[in-house]
């Protein structure tokens, strides 16, 4: 299996507080990889390194190497704008931009210089279909995105990310505020998407990790405790901490 994202001996600290302690992990091409662990385990910080959104935080010190398709992304030669076209992000809280559904999805493509009405419309339709939202909004694409329900907004955010045509999609606890039905819709969408995208799903919900991921990583206090195929992690975990976490004994 091909490695898509390679993280080697990554250490990251906010001021004096080290939140990622020497983590090495490979994320494989066109799989869903789950990052789980209690809050403060460093899993969200880890994905903010992959899309370089960490740049917007203060007092960050990073050591180690992160590469995508073998090309280093942390060095000065890497361009964060083109990186974020390849690495899309869906945040925990859905944040639609204050504009229409159509314009939310078209935001990224327009930044790439796509302006043809027909081409944009095709991208919008395609992205909304992939996010399982098209049928619910196809008649009201000019409606304000703020008027959608929470679950619809999160699928809108997924569609907005897909419109960039990324290779990697990072989802940072995308279902933490959603009801079970909305969660199921997001999970269905992710299952369909994994044949074309490399997906990293950060989640506190171990059942969700077990349901839809191919690989699962367990983080605790900034360290990678265990990483294996999801089947292995959930049936025969090698570490006691992993087992306790999965069984809900702490976390």
């Amino acid at each position: 299996m091909n490695t898509k994202i390679a993280i080697e001996r990554l250490r990251l600290s906010f001021g004096k507080n080290e939140v990622i302690k020497n983590i090495s992990i490979n994320v494989y091409h066109n799989t869903i990889t789950g990052f789980m662990g209690p809050s403060g385990s460093g899993k969200s910080t880890l994905i903010s390194v992959i899309n370089k959104m960490i740049d917007f935080e203060d007092n960050v010190k990073i050591h180690g190497k992160v590469s995508i398709d073998g090309i280093d992304i942390l060095g000065n030669s890497s361009n964060p704008v083109s990186l974020r076209r390849r690495v899309g992000t869906v945040f925990a809280v859905p944040i639609p931009l204050p504009r229409s559904i159509f314009e939310n999805i078209a935001y990224g493509p327009r930044l790439k210089g796509i302006s043809g009405r027909r081409e944009l419309h095709n991208i919008v339709e395609d992205s909304l279909k992939k996010a399982f939202l098209w049928d619910e909004v196809k008649d009201r694409l000019n409606l304000s995105a703020l008027k959608l329900s929470g679950g619809q907004q999160q699928r809108l955010c997924l569609a907005r990310t897909l419109a960039l045509k990324p290779e990697i999609i990072l989802l940072d606890e995308p279902c933490s505020g959603l009801d079970p039905i909305s969660t199921a819709k997001i999970e269905d969408a992710l299952n369909e998407l994994k044949s074309d995208y490399t997906i990293v799903l950060v989640s506190n919900n171990t059942k969700q990790i077990a349901r839809i991921t191919d690989f699962a990583a367990f983080f605790y206090m900034g360290e990678l405790i265990e990483y294996n195929t999801t089947d292995r992690v959930f049936t025969t975990p090698l570490e006691k901490q992993t087992e306790d976490y999965i069984q809900g004994k702490f976390g």
Binding site: G88, F91, Y107, R160
Partner: protein, 278 residues
């Protein structure tokens, strides 16, 4: 003895109501006085005719034109400068001694009495730069005078745009400038417009700084180098020199009505323009 919290609540509510009515009441009284004193003399001739005999007879057409020219040009100069400064202060600098110094300067400028701006404009633009009493000298003075208001309100508006909107924009591969242009400024536009409207009000209502720089000629200003008289200045001179109280009140009424309609129009236009951002 403990007073029932519900009774306290009622009393507070009543008190606040009275205060609100009082505030609005003062405004209504002022507008009503101007309306009743000025309305009988308001007619098409008053608006479209030139003044005669120092303004004792005729209309105020040149003053209306002069007022519009002064307010419009000042806004045209001050808005990009002020909004630009606000963007620089909020988006391109970290909080430091330097930004605190700029902000302190802006606040101090906002507190200076307008007559001092007038004196500065007179000494610098009218005399030193040999502009004479002119629309240009008035516009430049007024630009400096309204700049602090525009900077402060714009800064406030830009700062209140949620950080998450910026983060989302960056995550969708926008650069900083694209984010400012497409997300921050549209979201801050209502606040920025409020600052602009306050400034229009100030420019339209200003007398001291205008007399010193734009002068008080009753002729129609046809070029930037012509002197002119705004409605506020006209009102001041008519009343101060006892030329005609009737014409003074009629002028005041036109002044108030124009400020009101500018406000309504501006918010309507913005509402239309912003509807795609909601």
């Amino acid at each position: 003895m403990r007073i029932n919290p519900r009774i306290i609540n009622k009393i507070v509510e009543m008190g606040l109501n009275i205060q609100a009515f009082f505030t609005v009441g003062i405004l209504v009284v002022i507008v009503a006085i101007i309306f009743f004193k000025g309305f009988p003399y308001l007619n098409p001739e008053f608006i479209f005719a030139f003044p005669d005999d120092m303004g004792r007879h005729g209309g105020i057409f040149p003053s209306i034109v002069g007022t519009i020219q002064l307010a419009l040009l000042s806004i045209v100069f001050a808005t990009p400068l002020g909004v630009g400064t606000a963007i620089f202060l909020t988006e391109y600098t970290r909080e430091s001694t330097f930004t605190k110094l700029i902000r302190f300067g802006v606040e101090s400028l906002a507190g200076i009495p307008s007559i001092l701006y007038g004196l500065f404009g007179f000494i610098f633009f009218v005399i030193k730069l040999k502009m004479g009493w002119s629309l240009l000298a008035g516009v430049l003075t007024m630009t400096i005078m309204i700049l602090p208001t525009i900077i402060r309100t714009s800064e406030e508006a830009i700062r209140s745009v949620p950080r998450q909107l910026r983060i989302v924009s960056y995550s969708l591969s926008a650069t900083k400038w694209e984010t400012i242009k497409k997300v921050v400024i549209p979201a801050a536009a209502p606040g920025i417009l409020t600052g602009i409207m306050l400034s229009v009000g100030r420019a339209v209502g200003e007398t001291a700084a205008v007399i010193f720089t734009m002068g008080s000629s009753l002729r129609l200003p046809l070029s930037l180098m012509d002197s002119g008289r705004t409605m506020a200045v006209h009102f001041y001179i008519l009343a101060r020199e006892g030329i005609s109280m009737e014409k003074a009140y009629a002028t005041a009424l036109v002044l108030v009505l124009s400020i009101l309609s500018i406000n309504v129009l501006a918010y309507y236009v913005m509402h239309k323009a912003m509807s795609k951002y909601s």
